[in-house]
Amino acid sequence: MIQNKKDFRLGVGLIIFCLITLFVLIPWQVGPLSAPLAMQPVIFTLILLLLSGLLVIRSVKNAPAANPKEDEPVGTRKHLKTVCLVTIVIIGYSVVFEYLGFILTSFAGMVSLFLLFGVRSWSRILGITIPTMLILYFSFEKLLSAPLPTGLLFELLFDI
């Protein structure tokens, strides 16, 4: 029986990753496995493969060690759902940043994050969002001379 399922799954996943890297990614993206260019990727993929194998063996033999983080609170399904939603907001933010620009994306991003975290007071949401955006805008645009994206949509609409 497998004693530590979490580590077992991680070990198997890493072994699959190593095999794909070794036989698909390196020949496709670097060159033949014997080329000097491929030396470092090949060596470290092999090391990773060996370590993953050891992890799998250990997970079959040994039960998980006493959790050093046992005093930490344990998240629920609701928290996991929030993690997924926040991740989606971050990905969405990074994808539309260029097209919608700093102002629109940051406003939408911050407001949706506040709502996701359960803040319902609009005075607080706007009271934090607007000053944050203004401070960031002036810090980057004026103090650091680092222009933030205005957004393709904005440029199209206002013909900048």
Binding site: L10, L51, P68, H79, V86, Y93, G109, F140
Partner: protein
Amino acid sequence: MFDWTVMGEALSAALNVSNLFGASLGIFLGSFLGAIPGLNGAMAIALLIPVTFTWDPIFAIAMLIGCWKGSVYGGSISAVLLNAPGTPEAVATTYDGWPLAKQGKAGKALKMALYASVIGALISDSLLMVAAPPIAALALMFGPPELAMLIAFALVVVAGAGEGSHLKGLIAAALGVLLATVGLDPIQGMRRFTFDCLHLDSGIDLLAMVIGLLVTSEILYQIGQGWADSDAGAPPTPKTKADTRVSMRELIRCLPVIFRSSLLGSICGALPGVGSITAAFLGYDQAKGMDRHPENYGKGELKGVAAPEAANNAVCGAALIPLVTLGIPGALAVAVIMGGFLIHGLAPGPMLMVEHPKLIYALFMLLIITDFFMLFITRPLLILGQWVVRVPRIYLFPVIITLCVVGSFGTRMSVFDVQIMAAFSIIGYLLKKWDISPGTFLIAFILGPMAENYIRQSLLISGGNPLIFVTRPIAAGFLLALVAFTAWAAFKRRKGEKAQ
């Protein structure tokens, strides 16, 4: 021998008002951010780096190092006031800090933490100033095989000394080195793992990666653990005025403990991978072990606050020794500071002291001067502390995420870097869930290209013969140390398993 002209120029740069302001600002911001539970020094530095990239290197790097020092002290504020360490290195401070606060002596504990931190930092920075030049001079004698083996040794030590299992530490290191091969090959300039994406030619941007891996992923992790819901209660209030002060007698009583802990902390800092968390616990343990009344510890003993605070602050200066002399970041926060050096076109390593002696000595001097400033800069935080530590995370996280997006865009004006940051938020979160240290992963990512360069240069020198790593005495010594450390770690694990 000291070059007195360089030293004079360095002193004048260190005494420059704007540089002093930069370091002081770093300490203040670090203390402020470090006081907020959930924000650690590395996160604070990662958030600051994008702002500093257009600034003068001395000003910017002094600010980043100051921020780290400040955050280490700042962690003690919430440790004492809320029994919730603001940073992991302040955990040992809660043992006696919180009981003191419960007795209404929070002000006394915080002031003792401040004095101990300043003395610890002073001892450590003086050691840095004295030890760095000879070590750098020695490192100049190393060739590619020695440096390759030194990096391999450092990687194994960092992997083994971090939190969690040694095996997972090694997995983190291997993953980090593997990821560092993305981009143009350092010797032949050929593309590797770029998937025809031009943005990846220069590799994965370190800063975007650091922000994603350390800041946003930490936020995701804290949300996943339900920490965003659990914010602190009201801190207790002092009873008398004497409870808010540290008398001269109390300070003198704690001085031997502070000195011993500072030395321990400096040694821990200079060793790659040991870090300030271990230093703080060692400092606390030695204070308790050598005290005539160990039974007082854990009940509000002032020395129990002084010892861990002196030790964890003494790590900061000494931890820069391997960075500036060998180019090896031995701790997570130092790896992030190394990013600060790199974005200013400064490659840490033995040549740094040869090529930029004025900058390096100015930084050392600034660190020592601002240690004294720390006494005054952090004063407002002792008053603001009660407010700072209670900022709910649900208000903080959206602001930090926006800062991360803008910060990762800001350094290269590239939306691709924002996407890299988003990708590493997920990778960092998964690494934490699997108990794989993101710190080791990051350090390996930084050291990977250096290791490859030195290994391939060594093989070019030897005509492809790998025995060059065994036949050169210093390289063989590092290899032997690497094997010995691995064997020791395996022995320690087995012993632990048997004990269970």
